[in-house]
Each structure stands twice: as C-alpha cells, then as structure tokens.
C-alpha cells in the first residue's frame, strides 16, 4: 500500500440512468485517503445513487470506478470480496438484520470472514459498542427494541466490525436530535482519528459539515458542481451553494 496521497475512491465519467431519467451525468470524484468527505446536494439529486453506484448496488451506464485502486467492474469475485472486506457501510435506515440481536448483528461480518473464538468475537463486539458510545447491556436486544439513535450507532458498529479503512455513511445524523447528532459527528471524528478511517458521508446536516468534514463535494445536475473546504463553499458564486451555505439556517449554525 504505497499510495499515500492518492485517492482511495476514484470515480471517472460515471453515468447512471433510470429509464430515461439521467441521474448522474459524467460525474468525476476523488476521495483521498484519511479524509472525511461530506457529500451534499439537493434532495433527489442522486447522492444516495452515487453511494450505491460506488458500492455496486446500482448499475452504471458508463464510466469507471476504482476503490483502493481496484476497478470493481474488472475485478474477479475474490478481488471484489477483498475490497468489500475493507469497507463498511452505514445505510440510511440502519439496515440491521431484524431477526438477529445487536450482538449477532455486530459479530456477523467477523464470524463469516475470520476464524476466531466466540470469546474474542464477544470481546471485540463489546469494544465496538463502547467505541460507538453504547453500553454493553444492549447486546442482547433486538433492533426493534432500540431507539433511532441507538440503531444508527449499532449500524455504525456493524460497519466497523472488520476494522475497515473506508466507511460510507448515508445520512448518519438524519433523525437524531441536535445533541445526538453532535455526538455522532464527534464520534465519527474520533473514530477517524483513532482508526485512520476514510469517511464518505452523505449528509444534509450543516453542523456535520462544519464540525466533522475535511472537504465537501456538492452534487447538482448529475455532476460535482464544487468541491473544497467550507470556506471555498461559502465563497462560491453558485446560486444553490449561496443559498445553502449563506442562507438563514447556515447563519444560525455559524452564530
């Protein structure tokens, strides 16, 4: 793993189409190693679609996507499996397995991929729960017995189960109260520091963008219309960015 500077995700000229609606139109994007990239854009612009395209859940019409330097279309199944072990995904609704307990949900990837003892699995499960700020007592509850914030945290713990290098977070703070959302941003930041994660975060939360993200990319009309720091975004003349970062809610966040 010599590449230090270069991109961990490289998206080139990707087009995605549903029927006759073109959602992504020749999109280019780089995510650098070790950064937290905040990905914003109007509702329905295709943020989740891009995430799902990178992961491989949505087929693309054309273009090229490399993750960890591997072209996922050209990769054979064992190469793909190797890449999948190195990323973790937090879905918008958590996507916890509803018939498994919290313990089983978090242990699921490790149990499948690593041949280690139940004792170590249990210990690592507790470590992950502590990391995401939950008490070990929730381990034997079912997802339907958890609150919304707890579901997000357990889902994050499951995404981190194999200590991935890259984590996709799809609206991690939506549906959380402001304090909970602030905690979550802090948590992502801490985990990024301690585990050296690269984070690709789709979000609508201005607070997250200010406190958690190193860099921001903005999606509009199927392309990346701007990428850079918060300061760059605020200086941009693009009308949507102007409204987003200098609007009433944005001012409230800064103040």
């Amino acid at each position: 793993m010599a590449e230090q500077e270069d991109a961990i995700i490289r998206v080139r000229d990707v087009t995605v189409q549903f029927g006759s609606t073109r959602v992504l139109d020749g999109l280019d994007l780089d995510v650098k190693r070790g950064e937290i990239l905040g990905f914003v854009g109007p509702s329905g612009a295709g943020k989740s679609v891009l995430t799902r395209t990178i992961i491989g859940l949505v087929p693309k019409v054309s273009g090229r996507i490399e993750v960890f330097g591997v072209d996922l279309d050209a990769a054979n199944s064992s190469q793909r499996r190797a890449v999948e072990r190195r990323w973790g995904i937090l879905f918008q609704q958590g996507a916890l397995f509803s018939s498994l307990t919290v313990r089983q949900n978090i242990q699921f990837p490790a149990r499948e991929y690593l041949r280690v003892s139940q004792r170590l699995l249990d210990e690592i499960m507790v470590a992950k729960l502590v990391m995401v700020g939950l008490k070990p007592e929730v381990a034997d509850r079912y997802p339907s017995e958890l609150s919304g914030g707890m579901i997000k945290r357990v889902a994050l713990a499951r995404a981190l189960a194999l200590d991935p290098e890259l984590v996709f977070l799809d609206e991690p703070t939506s549906g959380l109260d402001p304090i909970g959302a602030g905690d979550f941003d802090e948590l992502v930041r801490t985990l990024q520091r301690t585990l050296g994660l690269t984070v690709f975060m789709v979000t609508h939360d201005l607070d997250s963008l200010y406190t958690a993200c190193d860099r921001i990319a903005v999606l509009g009309n199927g392309k990346i219309i701007a990428a850079g720091s918060i300061a760059d975004m605020k200086a941009s003349q693009h009308p949507w960015l102007q409204q987003y970062f200098n609007g009433k809610r944005a001012r409230a966040v800064v103040a």
């Binding site: 397995f97 509803s98 003892s117 004792r119 690592i124 507790v126 502590v130 339907s144 981190l160 200590d163």
Partner: protein
Amino acid sequence: MSGDPTLERIAQGEGLALCAAGNWTARFAPALERIVSDAEKLRGSRPHIFIDVSQVASLDTFGAWLIERLRRSLSDASAEAEIAGLSANYSSLVDEVRRVGPAPKAASESLLISGMLEQIGRTVAGIGGTVIGLVDMLGAVLAAAAKVLIHPRSFRFTSTVHHLEQVCLRAVPIVVLITFLIGCIISQQGIFHFRRFGADIFVVDMLGVLVLREIGVLLVAIMVAGRSGSAYTAELGSMKMREEIDALRTMGFDPIEVLILPRMLALVLALPILAFLGAMAALYGGGLVAWLYGGVDPEAFLLRLRDAISIDHFIVGMVKAPVMAAVIGIVACVEGLAVQGSAESLGQHTTASVVKGIFFVIVMDGVFAIFFASIGM
C-alpha cells in the same frame, strides 16, 4: 503479503519483554488470537513483564484489544504489566479499548428436556390465547360492520372491490384448474373400482355428492387459505412493522374498519363464488373422464346426476363457504396484527396463518357434517 504478526520473548535480567511486530489487524485475527493465548500462559513466570509494541506495523481494534487483553491477563495483584513503545498514532486506540469491560453473557439456551417441556407448556397456553384472539377479532369485525351499516358512507367500496379482484378474480384460473383435475381423478378412480361390481354408473352419484357437499368447498377453502390468507397476513404484518397501522390509528381511523373489514368482506363474497366455480369445474372434469374413460356419455351422465343429487347437497356446500371464508380471514388478520418488529416474526406469523387457517377450515367442516346429519340434510 509479508508482515505476519509475531510476539518475540526476550529475557531482560529479572524481567521479560514481549516484542510485538508485524500487522496486528483483523486480517490476521486467528493467528493473533493463538499468539496471545500462548503468551497469556506466561503469567506469573517472571516478576516483571512488559509488552513492547514499537515494532508493530499496523494496529486496529482487534490488535489493540488483544494487546490489552494480554496486558490484563499478565497483570496480577503484585505487578502491573505495561505497554511500552506505543506510538502517538495508536495511543488513542489503546486508550479506547482500555475502557472495554467484560462481555455480558449471552442468554443461555435452557436444557434440552426442560426446554422441550417449556415449549410444550407455552404451546398449550398459546392455544387458549389463539382462541381468545380469534373471538376478539370476530367481535371487532362485527362491531365495525355494525358501524358501517349505521353510517354506510364510511364503507370502503373501492378497497373492497380491489381485494375482491385480488382474492376472487385472480384466483379463478388456478382454482378452476385444480378442481377440474381433482374431478377427473375422482371419476377415474371411481370407475376403475366400481367396474368390478358392474356399477360404473354409480360413479356419477359419488362424484355429485362428494364434489357438491365436501370436496368442492373444502379444497377451494384450503387453496384460498394458502393463497389469500397468507397474503393478508403478510400485508398487515409489514404494515404493522413499518408503523403504518399506528399511523392510521393516530389519524383517527379504525384499522379494523379501514383495513380488515374490506378484506373480510371480499373474502366472504369470494369464497362462495370460487366454490361454485370449483364445483362446476370438478363436475365437468369428472363428466369428461366418465365419458372418455368410462364410456358414460354426457346425456346419461346428466340424467343420472339429476336423479342422484338434490338441491340439498348444493345448499350444504354453499352454506359452508362464507363461514369458512370468515374463519380464514379472521385467522389471517389476527396473525397479521400479531407480527413483531422482525422479518423472522413476519415469516412465522404468515406460516401460522396458513396452518391455522387450514386447520380451522377442516374443523368447521367436521362441525358442519355433524350439524347437517342431525337436521337430516
């Protein structure tokens, strides 16, 4: 890939240094676990043991936890084992896992025999609960129906028609096909065995009575329980899971009135229609086989059929249909509303809906048989 994790033991005077090197990451977790379990046996062998991690190439939660676990198990009352050579990159990770306490015990499975006994007890107790649940639902549906009779405007006509299409119109091809085939088989078997006594023609009596009284309606009811009962349970169950039913309730709608009454009504209307079509298809199939295989020509078949059966047989069959429909519908709705939050629960209740639906249909059929026998029909 090089960099397999190692843990070298280096004696230093009185003490012992454990030098960790290589990649202490999840990839190597099985090897790491072995190394650490071996090293844990060194506890108390030397007065002073410390773990040197300065040579570790990469560290993640797995590695950090195993080092922490090793440190804990090497520590005893007299001497605390220490971790040396920790780089700044990894110190926060090690601090993080230091907060980890013991894992809570998984809820243990009860012993085989007592577990089985417990299961039997729960099942028996559950039967009582099922009966109460069914009576409860019957009452709720009747109350909702009474309300709708008083305020006919609140009746959901569109919904009822939609469900009628689903459970009746779309079920016609499969119901007709299966009953047709069953009619053929009954007729063929009857002719085959009756021929030995030279009583070929009595196959018409058997076919008529059996199809109109029993098989027609029973078979169709079982098919409907499998086809529509399961659909009702799955629909209501997934609505329950996604809190749609709670949403309805908070908007001031009665879920029984909005969701269940139209479904029940559709089923009660559909089953007699399907049972009638099924009986006709079975008679047609039986007649066809009697003609082609048994040499009973259609005219003789119809003449014999008219003598053999009376309208009573037909009424007996038709009277049962709506009652069976109601039983299937109520079981399906009770099971649907009993679904809990998980996908597994949805599967269990859908299975239970079909199994209980068929069971109650057969029980009802037996009760009807006794009833009609005692009133001489």
